[in-house]
């Protein structure tokens, strides 16, 4: 008896969609559904009669898919991402620490997730209690006197903080003209100063990468509104002259703004309020473990000294005469609102859960471990890579590609090669004061074993840079896509999918091949 031969598809196994998931629009077909609305319990209406000319007739390319296809679509996409949950994410200045899952659980409790921002204060005591408890903890951690939780991210916090500075100076009769910003600062700092109507004056770092105190003294004058300082700096070093810096500013009536991006190096060990800072922001998505989520949401509370408190955005949480919590709107000197409602409340819930999980002992141990990890990496890799600044590191260490660049291997290349070893890249080419910077921040979340893996990988890459530079220069080699053409992406931007103009001819391979 003739056995019918099995005829396979002509596609190779590697073309399975789990490696080549199309855009959802390309997978869509008319009539598929992933929803079923509840039965309508009121009379249906004629939308054309109700809306007239304002009625919509077409939803264009919006997809039509079933639920399992949507689950697979996003699950497949997710496997193309690197994540903290997969391994170490040594991005300097980003503080990629573990995002505890209990944070997610409490943020989704019904009474919290379903609270409407305009529900009566008497029925919002829980939410207000969360804000109050978090505010108290952050004030204690920073050593400041007052706080607003309203800003939605770090840069938004900077904006709010500089508005406070401006309002303070205006209340003294002169808003002043310029903000001093060190050349090692995050790009958000000068952008923020500009949005607040200030000129930016660039402050050069000294040979140790620190604030040049003499230069600062020369630059600060009656037109200086504030210095925006990241401490520890973006090279991971504590500004030991911080109090002198504060004194120089204060002597001329200027204020000290601290960018709290690197607060993970300080919590429980020192407090900005104690060393002369007047106003600062925190990044709850860095120091306080709320997830980065592929780029947001963040949350950027701003803490300040008493002198700036009258200017805080409205509303603020207060305890009323009857002991209940309430929202205070009547604040005549406020800078106004920086965001609707009260901020990224869901992030407050997560940050507070993190603080409760740690307690004072856990917070201090966290800081110590973060600093221990960075110094361990520094000790193990100094010599393999150039260390431009020898000053004691706190939570991050900045090497440069100087030794490898001789062979044409740049920081960006080695960052990409690190991907092949199972890590995310470190921060590449930042801070700008270091030529070819390689900025590594391990955070406290890495075990010694994971650190050793990273150290081994970087040593191996340094060796490859000597022996086989091209291997590094063309990396990564193990990812789903290779280096992408970013030049064409910017020159001829394609920013949305468009349905093909005419139906494309369907190519059917009629001569099915045999296996």
């Amino acid at each position: 008896m003739a056995v019918e031969k099995f005829v396979g598809t002509p596609k190779k196994a590697t073309t399975h969609t789990n490696q080549n998931e199309d855009l959802m629009f390309e997978k869509s077909s008319p009539g598929k559904k992933a929803y079923r609305l509840a039965q309508l319990d009121v009379p249906a209406v004629d939308s054309v009669a109700l809306l007239g000319d304002s009625v919509r007739t077409d939803l264009g390319v919006m997809p039509e898919l079933s639920e399992i296809e949507i689950i697979r679509h996003f699950t497949r996409l997710s496997t193309w991402n690197y994540a903290i949950d997969l391994g170490m994410y040594p991005l300097g200045s980003c503080t990629m620490k573990y995002n505890p899952r209990v944070n997610e659980a409490v943020a989704r409790l019904e009474g919290i997730a379903e609270a409407h921002p305009y529900q009566p204060e008497s029925l919002s005591q829980g939410c207000l209690g969360i804000m109050q408890t978090l505010s108290d903890a952050l004030i204690e951690i920073t050593g400041m006197d007052a706080i607003t939780l309203q800003p939605a991210a770090g840069a938004h916090g900077e904006f709010t903080g500089i508005l406070l500075v401006r309002a303070y100076h205006e209340s003294k009769g002169n808003p002043r003209k310029k903000i001093l910003i060190p050349d090692s600062a995050h790009g958000t700092n000068p952008a923020t100063a500009a949005v607040c109507g200030y000129e930016v004056a660039n402050l050069k770092s000294n040979a140790q990468g620190m604030v040049d105190v003499a230069e600062l003294e020369r630059m600060v004058d009656e037109d200086t509104a504030a210095l925006m300082l990241t401490n520890p700096s973006t090279i991971g070093v504590f500004e030991s002259d911080i109090h002198k810096i504060a004194d120089i500013l204060h002597a001329k009536g200027a204020l000290l703004y601290m960018d709290g991006a690197n607060m993970n190096a300080l919590v429980g060990k020192t407090r900005p309020g104690d060393f002369g800072v007047d106003v600062m922001h925190l990044n709850l998505h860095k120091t306080f473990s709320t997830p980065h989520g592929g780029g947001g949401p963040g949350s950027g509370p701003v803490a300040c000294k008493k002198i700036l408190e009258p200017f805080l955005p409205t509303p603020i949480v207060v305890t009323k005469a009857d002991g209940k919590l309430g929202l205070e709107y009547n604040r005549p000197q406020t800078v106004g609102r920086v965001r609707m409602f009260y901020g990224n409340f869901g992030m407050f819930v997560r940050a507070l859960a993190y603080i409760l999980a740690n307690g004072p002992d856990g917070l201090r141990q966290t800081t110590e471990d973060a600093v221990l990890n960075a110094n361990y990496i520094r000790a193990k890799l100094e010599g393999t890579f150039d260390l431009p600044y020898k000053t004691q590191s706190l939570h991050e260490v900045v090497f440069s590609d100087k030794l490898q660049a001789k062979n044409g291997v740049k920081t960006g290349d080695m960052g990409k090669r690190l991907i092949d070893y199972g890590f995310h890249a470190y921060t590449v080419s930042f801070p700008l004061v270091v030529q070819g910077a390689m900025m590594i921040e391990p955070t406290e979340s890495e075990s010694r074993e994971e650190l050793d893996l990273l150290i081994d990988a970087l040593k191996q890459i340094a060796r490859e840079a000597e022996e086989n530079p091209e291997l590094v220069q063309t990396s990564p080699h193990t990812t789903r896509v290779q280096r992408l053409d970013e030049t064409t992406a910017a020159r001829k931007p394609i920013l949305r999918w468009k349905a093909p103009a005419a139906p494309e001819p369907v190519l059917v391979d009629t001569a099915a091949k045999e296996w």
Partner: protein, 447 residues
């Protein structure tokens, strides 16, 4: 501490390898006088079960078990359960901004899909990968219009969400952007004659909201014509994104600032939400925020990257289009999943249900003794202003006894409407039973 993966021995050995005697040696750059020598006065370390208990207690002190008729820029819509199962995948939840595209294609492709759907829904040509929220998005849109036109004024409808207008005032104050507000007419729409009169040769843009704060759908085409005739741009702010399933997109606008919270994002006491700016392609270079673009790798394989970053703060510093850095990526992911669930048919059906529910609520409340629905002469989506015989505060206080949260009192922002006006909302989640109950309670009887 359970989040810290080190044993005491690990710590000791690592200190030895670094070559220091104690951990405090690593903090020696902090002057002694500023070193904290005590425990922080924060709550003690809690076990996981204690954390859950603590937050359950907070949750119970909120409004649980109430039926609510609040909207006003934040809307309770059904959130398909797959949203949370997908966004809690660690690969989405715990990844950073996709600066390394080779290992971030998941986030990048999803955001490209987000941009595509936002364009389709708003009738715009390009969209960014999110802003903080609708209020800051509207402020950034105005700053963008100022850059595009080289003019410096903004004309803003008073029917734009009051808190959006407060945020705009905060942003505008130090940028020398003078703003003028224009009122509304008897049908709740923007006063077109006043608007026309307010636009001058220095006006960079007109900002309206549609559906506006009173729930009324604006005549976008007519307003666009007026703005464009004087060389100003039209910005349309949309606070209720579900409306776009049935309301014509504001295609005549130049910039659309959308709050996408309605697309599957919990009301969550005010955030995080998801703003987004969409616009005509010709304004691309002035767009704030991150953009995802399609490209290819060297083998010709399609991939996505962050693009046109020369607009942004990390390159341009003080000359950037905005200081924004972190956006609302994971929330944008939620909205992307929501939109894929409802899709082409579902978005329309969902919006129609909202129309039907609000029409029913309006009919039962409007029929109660002494009540009057204001602004009834123009199309609306799912909100309306109700004038009641007693003050809105008093009425609401009484309704709380029946576990009902009534409409939002408006006197704070619109004193001219008097103390008795409030803003009511019904969505697909508002049941007939709840609506009948509130009507009965207003009539002084139990449903």
């Amino acid at each position: 501490m359970r989040y810290l993966p080190k044993s005491p021995v690990d710590r000791e050995e690592m200190l030895a390898e670094i070559g220091v005697a104690s951990i405090d040696d690593l903090f020696s750059t902090i002057p002694a006088e500023f070193q904290l020598k005590r425990d922080l006065a924060v709550p003690r370390q809690h076990g996981e079960s204690e954390i859950l208990d603590r937050f359950r207690e907070f949750a119970e002190n909120n409004a649980v078990g109430y039926s609510s008729f609040l909207g006003a820029g934040v809307y309770r819509h059904y959130r398909p359960v797959i949203i949370d199962s997908l966004v809690q995948r660690g690969e989405f939840l715990t990844s950073y901004t996709p600066y390394q595209p080779e290992i971030s294609q998941g986030t990048l492709q999803a955001m490209f899909e987000f941009q595509t759907m936002i364009c389709e829904l708003t009738g715009m040509e390009i969209a960014n990968a999110s802003m903080y929220d609708g209020s800051t998005g509207a402020a950034e849109a105005i700053m963008m219009a100022v850059r595009v036109t080289g003019r410096d004024g903004a004309v803003i409808a008073r029917t734009v969400h009051p808190e959006y207008r407060e945020v705009i005032a905060t942003y505008a104050q130090h940028q020398e952007i003078p703003t003028v507000e224009v009122g509304y007419s008897a049908n709740g729409r923007v006063d077109v004659a006043a608007l026309d009169a307010a636009i001058t040769k220095d006006t960079a843009c007109v900002l309206i909201q549609s559906p506006n704060f009173f729930g009324t759908v604006e005549d976008v085409a007519a307003i666009a014509e007026i703005a464009h005739a004087k060389g100003a741009l039209l910005i349309v702010s949309i606070a209720e994104a579900v409306s776009l399933g049935i309301v014509r997109p504001p295609a005549e606008a130049d910039i659309v600032s959308l709050e996408a919270q309605s697309y599957g994002v919990a009301v969550g006491y005010g955030g995080p939400y998801c703003g987004v700016i969409a616009c005509k392609e010709k304004f691309l270079r002035q767009m704030p925020g991150r953009l995802i673009g399609e490209t290819k790798d060297k083998d010709g394989k399609r991939g996505f990257v962050l693009t046109l970053s020369t607009r942004e703060q990390h390159i341009r510093r003080e000359k950037a289009t905005s200081n924004i850095c972190t956006n609302q990526a994971l929330v944008a992911m939620m909205t992307t999943i929501f939109l894929s669930v409802y899709g082409k048919q579902g978005m329309k059906e969902l919006a129609e249900q909202n129309l039907a529910k609000a029409a029913y609520l309006k009919s039962v409340l409007g029929a109660s003794a002494g009540a009057k629905v204001l602004f009834d002469g123009a199309p609306r989506f799912h909100e309306f202003v109700l004038q009641l015989p007693k003050s809105a505060e008093e009425t609401n206080a009484a309704l709380l006894g029946d576990k009902i949260i009534g409409g939002l009192p408006l006197a704070k922002w619109y004193p001219e409407l008097g103390p008795n006006a409030s803003l009511w909302c019904a969505t697909e989640l508002t049941t007939r039973k709840q609506m009948d109950a509130v009507a009965a309670a207003l009539a002084g009887k139990k449903a």
